[in-house]
Each structure stands twice: as C-alpha cells, then as structure tokens.
Symmetry: C3
Subunit: 138 residues, 3 copies
C-alpha cells in the first residue's frame, strides 16, 4: 500500500462543465496504481466537481441552465466584490462537490458506462483551476 | 494496510430512498476490515447516494417531495430522450452525492445514532443499481 | 501506511457555518501524518459539511440566506417532530455533504488559498456536534 499525490490544471473559458476523466486516468497510469482509490480534490471555492452523463451534451446544458436559474446572478447578495457571478459561484460550489473518491480496479477507474468526471466552472471569466489527486492503494 | 473492492446490486422500484446500511456492513464483515474507511460509489448518473435520518419514514418522504418540487419533470428540458424523469434524474444526482467515505472502527461503520446510508433512486421505472465499495485499512 | 481515527466536538449556537480548519490541522499534527488524506465525517443528519470561502464573512452569510430561502421553515412538511427547523435541517444536509476527503501533503491539508472547512449547522438550538476524522497515509 502506498499513497501518491499529483497536480494538474484545467483551463476554463467561462461557466460550464469540463470533462477531466482522461486527465484522471493519465494520473493513474503515471502512478502505476492497480487497485485502490483516486481522490479528486478541487482547490477552489468558485468551481466544483461533479460526475455526470458524458454522452449527451444536451444533458450537461440542462444541468447548467438549472443552476443558472436556481442560483441567479443579481439576487441582492451582500457579497459581490468580484461581480455578479461571484456569490452565485460560491453557492453553486456548496451545492455540488469539492472532493470525490473513485475506485480504481486493475488500473482503471471503475466508472459506470455513461459516467464522466467534470470540473464545474461557476465563473464567467477564464480561469486556471488546480486539481489535486491522491492515489491510495497498491 | 490493504484495499479490497466488493460489488452489490440494489433493485429499485421507482423514485425514492432505499437503505443500504446493512449491505455495507455485510461487505465490511466479509472483508474482515477492522479499522479504516469504506468508500461507497454508485456507478450511475440517474441515481445517487445520501446519508439520512433512518428512523422517521416521514422525513424521507419530505426529502423526496422537496426534490420533486425543486427539480420538476416537464420543465422544458432540452434532453428528454428517456422520458420526463430523465433530465430531472441527472440534476438530482448532481445535487446529491456519487461517493461517500465512512469511517470503520472495530469492524463497524461509525455512523451517528439516526444515520443510515441510502441509494436515492431518481427514475420512475424499476432498475438494478450497481454499488461498488472499497475497503481500505487493516 | 497506516490509518488512525480521532474525534472532536463542535459546539454550535444556532444555524450557520462554523470553521473547523484549525481543528482538522490539529488532528493531523497529533497523528504525525505526513502524506495521505484526511477524511472528515459528521455523525449527524441535521448538520453537514462544506468547504467555503473563509476570508469574507459576507459570502458565508449569503450562503446561509440562500439555504434559508431554498429550504424554508413552515413549508407544510409531514415530519416536524422537533419543530419548524427539524425537516429543513435534513433537506439542507442532503443538499450539502456528510463526508469530505482532503489531501495532506508534508503534514498540511492542501487547501486552496481561500478554502476553509466548515460545519454547517442547520438547527436553531445550540448543539454539540461530533466530527470523526480518519487519517490515512504515512
């Protein structure tokens, strides 16, 4: 049993979901991990993680529209230091996830057929987002 | 320290919460794990996981009604390939959890008095849902 | 590689977010863990966990107001054995998190610059909340 950390960055171009499944598999391949878990952690409070349907882009657009409606900009927030998408980004992060732990079996993430892992960007401007993965197992 | 994976299936009969606490404890018993964690992962994008009050069925019905209202069917979704409960199921999954990590102490999950672990089914039709658990520890 | 559990309590004084970042770091220091993960688990169904912006208290107040509006008291819940904040507390817990897994690198949690870990209390009355942390690594 051993533990290893790896970092990578995701460049985002505004609000939306960005698939990182391949980057996670690359981290597993590099580490040589065969059996255990990969923990994914996003080091930010204005973007988050989610697993999602990765076959139908329309499903992802519906998720994004749902969040735009549930957590609207310009809703009389007290905190808006960085513009109208600042506070909604923190709320959307709280409603989704910061860490996920995914089983690794025989060197592969054991995802369902249509499951992908996504960075969910909640800011309008382009950002470089830091993802830290921890590989635990043998 | 070692790591072990186990699978099991949950047969669901429509939208609702299905307790899997006993199945998780059985997996721990089988593995012989005494101290560590059990990671629970659901290999689907139209059902999810949550911990919940397991004593009061009325509390679970209120949770289910809340989600039916927050994420209604027939809300002009772009994606509805599999019917009116298709897109809401993905959104409800994003709002809840795909993985949970629960401490195991002396061979038992260290849950609070009223805590149970539930599969949250978001589709109307019966499904067989695959749960993958990873046991890490000694 | 080894695994260690530690408990601590948080005394809450009504609805709101209570930072526990320092308590988690203290647990890591006590354990001697240098590289691995800390899993945080809250043993309750009426409070939860979230990571959040820890610099701007206004941002936390906006999050709290958002949840008060999204999950109102007195909304015709079937379950209200313990008062009007009983059922909303369970729903707010389902919408946030029960477990989080955070990477530990060189003896420190690898949080982003503005990231803090918070207990999110959903009940009006003071409570003693039990947090169980599991440290895995070397």
């Amino acid at each position: 049993m051993r533990t290893q950390h790896q970092h990578f960055e995701v460049r985002t171009k505004g609000k939306g979901t960005y698939e990182i499944t391949d980057e996670l598999q690359t981290a597993i391949d590099k580490s040589g991990l065969r059996n255990g878990v990969i923990t994914v952690f996003v080091q930010h409070t204005s973007c988050s993680l989610t697993l999602m349907e990765n076959a139908a882009p329309a499903a992802r657009r519906d998720v994004e529209r749902f969040f735009d409606k549930l957590v609207p900009e310009n809703a009389d927030y007290e905190h808006e230091d960085e513009g109208p998408d600042d506070m909604p980004s923190h709320i959307r992060m709280v409603l989704t996830r910061t860490s996920e732990t995914i089983p690794v079996v025989d060197g592969k993430m054991e995802l369902g057929t249509w499951q992908g892992v996504f960075l969910f960007e909640h800011r309008r401007d382009p950002h470089r987002r830091k993802i830290l993965v921890t590989l635990i197992g043998e």
